[in-house]
């Protein structure tokens, strides 16, 4: 049985940032505004959600305009648990910042979903 990579860190071992770090690689050819990242043990679940939140980034100058020129993900081979994500940003926007912000947004969204779901469920159960 292969141990579930996604839960490994929280369930068996102490949280070890070094383990999490080793699951990420910056692929060759990265610059400040264009980079590809490779994540081990991730798939469409995180890939697509992350792609979406990253594409939502806006910058406010005169008008709100997108920060991200391109963001896409791929699973290079179906039998390898790897996910690549490519981000290209407009001038003056750092790809690493965008990725970090995207992950933070995802975490925040999850909190909102949990909170609203619990409220709705409790109300529904009380009304039954």
């Amino acid at each position: 049985m292969s141990e579930p990579a996604s839960l490994h860190g929280t369930e068996i071992l102490e949280i070890d940032p070094a383990v999490d770090r080793d699951r990420i690689r910056v692929l060759p050819g990265a610059t400040e505004t264009a980079a590809s990242f490779q994540f081990d043990g991730e798939d469409h679940t995180l890939g697509n959600a992350l792609r979406y939140v990253i594409l939502k980034k806006c910058v406010y100058t005169l008008l709100p305009s997108p920060q991200v020129e391109f963001c896409g993900y791929s699973i290079p081979h179906p039998s390898e648990a790897r996910m690549n994500i490519r981000i290209q940003t407009y001038d003056g926007v750092n790809v690493y910042d965008v990725l970090e912000k995207g992950l933070d947004d995802l975490v925040d969204m999850c909190d909102v979903v949990v909170e609203k779901f619990i409220t709705a469920r409790d109300e529904f159960k009380a009304s039954q």
Binding site: M1, S2, E3, P4, S6, L7, G9, T10, E11, I12, P17, D20, R21, D22, R23, I24, V26, F39, E42, D43, H44, T45, L46, N48, A49, L50, R51, Y52, V53, L55, K56, K57, C58, Y60, L63, P64, P66, V68, E69, E100, L103, D104, D105, L106, V107, D108, M109, C110, D111, V112, V113, V114, K116, F117, I118, A120, R121, E123, K125, Q128
Partner: protein, 375 residues
């Protein structure tokens, strides 16, 4: 900053369904698509738009609507429900005796698929068991112990009933009258608590969710004596670990009647949909005054949409020429009607919550690794 009109917003939200094609399917709330509009991700905005509405909720079956979120997120929750929420299932089978007709490996496979249940707090307390791998003897393993392996035993022997032989000689064929224990059920699996499990599963011992799952059949003289090790795993590894029978979503259907459908036609129109989707209502005075198409039709029955959620979007109405130009079918892009059906180890609403928590854990881990990488 430009703001799209209410009508434009609605148009963007709808997938249009024609008789042979589905259009406008891709997400379009991205800033690169509509320059000048503010589409930045904003938690406050998300909080305002996101909504949950429950439809039904029982222990093992829930349906609810999530509105105001993107497909990528809804799909992530669905995928995690199916393949990443851990459950306990039978993994190793140690067979001491099996002289029935079912082969050992077939029997083992059947045992693995039996859904188990037990005290939720106990199941949460259980840790992962990491098997030694044959190709890498130095790999990290956790020895089987009370905190990662659940032991169960199955010991059943089939015998003749009192006077069964005589009955058989007389021509009786009903196995219930002839033999004892001729059918082995999931309820015959007996939990053997070890170590701390005694305490952890005090109020909910491990047992099969459905006691009457037939495992195998036997005849007098045949015997089954085996021990199983059940352990935590995830659906990505094997379907027996998947906590859901199905976790799925569909988009809310919409039906727009663009010009009135009256009397006999209305009845035919209603029959194109499942019961309850289309209702027949008399045209009111006000309607006939306001709508030129309804003039002089006061009191006549016309078709009105009453419950689009029940529609299966069979598109039957588009097959009839008389309705083709009178109705527009669609689906709402950000209204997901979830249905989560648990196999019994988890409560169905807890399953969804767990899937959201797991997505958060995933994002946090990558975030942590990235922070470390940037140092």
């Amino acid at each position: 900053m430009s703001q799209p009109s209410q009508e434009e917003r609605r148009r963007r939200k709808l997938l249009t369904i024609g008789d042979e094609r589905v259009a406008n399917t891709a997400s379009n709330d991205l800033p690169s698509l509509f320059p000048g509009e503010d589409m930045d991700f904003n938690l406050h905005e998300f909080k305002k738009n996101f909504n949950v509405q429950f439809h039904t909720s029982s222990a093992h079956d829930s349906t609810f609507s999530l509105t105001g979120l993107d497909t990528s997120l809804a799909n992530a929750f669905r995928r995690i429900c199916i393949s990443e929420i851990p459950t306990v299932a039978i993994e190793d089978v140690y067979i001491m005796q099996n002289n029935g007709v079912m082969q050992d490996e077939v029997l083992a496979q059947r045992l693995g698929l039996i859904p188990l249940k037990g005290s939720p707090s106990g199941l949460r307390w259980l840790r992962w068991y990491i098997k030694p791998s044959p190709d890498d003897p130095d790999a990290f393993v956790t020895p089987p112990s009370d905190h990662n392996v659940v032991v169960m035993k199955l010991n059943v022997k089939c015998e003749w009933r009192e006077g069964g032989l005589q009955l058989a000689a007389k021509g009786e064929t009903d196995p219930d009258k002839l033999y004892k224990n001729h059918a082995v059920y999931a309820k015959h699996l007996k939990y053997v608590p070890t170590g701390k499990q005694e305490e952890m599963f005090k109020d909910g011992p491990i047992e099969a969710v459905h006691p009457d799952i037939l495992i195998t059949k036997m005849r007098p003289g045949q015997e089954l004596d085996l021990m199983v090790h059940a352990m935590k795993g995830i659906g990505a590894d094997h379907a027996k670990f998947s906590p859901v029978a199905t976790a799925s979503y569909r988009l809310l259907p919409t039906i727009d009647i663009t010009s009135p459908i009256l009397s006999a036609e209305a009845k035919k129109f209603a029959r194109c949909f499942p019961k309850g989707v289309i209702a027949l209502a008399p045209v009111t005075t006000e309607q006939s005054r306001k709508d030129p198409a309804l003039k002089d039709h006061e009191g006549e029955l016309h078709a009105v949409v009453s419950d689009p959620m029940r529609d299966t979007v069979s598109r039957e109405c588009l097959r009839h020429d008389e309705f083709k130009n009178k109705v527009k079918l669609g689906r709402v892009r950000d209204h997901f009607i979830f249905s989560v059906e648990s196999t019994g180890q988890w409560e169905s609403d807890e399953l969804f919550l767990e899937s959201v928590r797991l997505l958060k854990v995933k994002a946090q881990r990558v975030r942590r690794g990235l922070g470390e990488l940037m140092k």
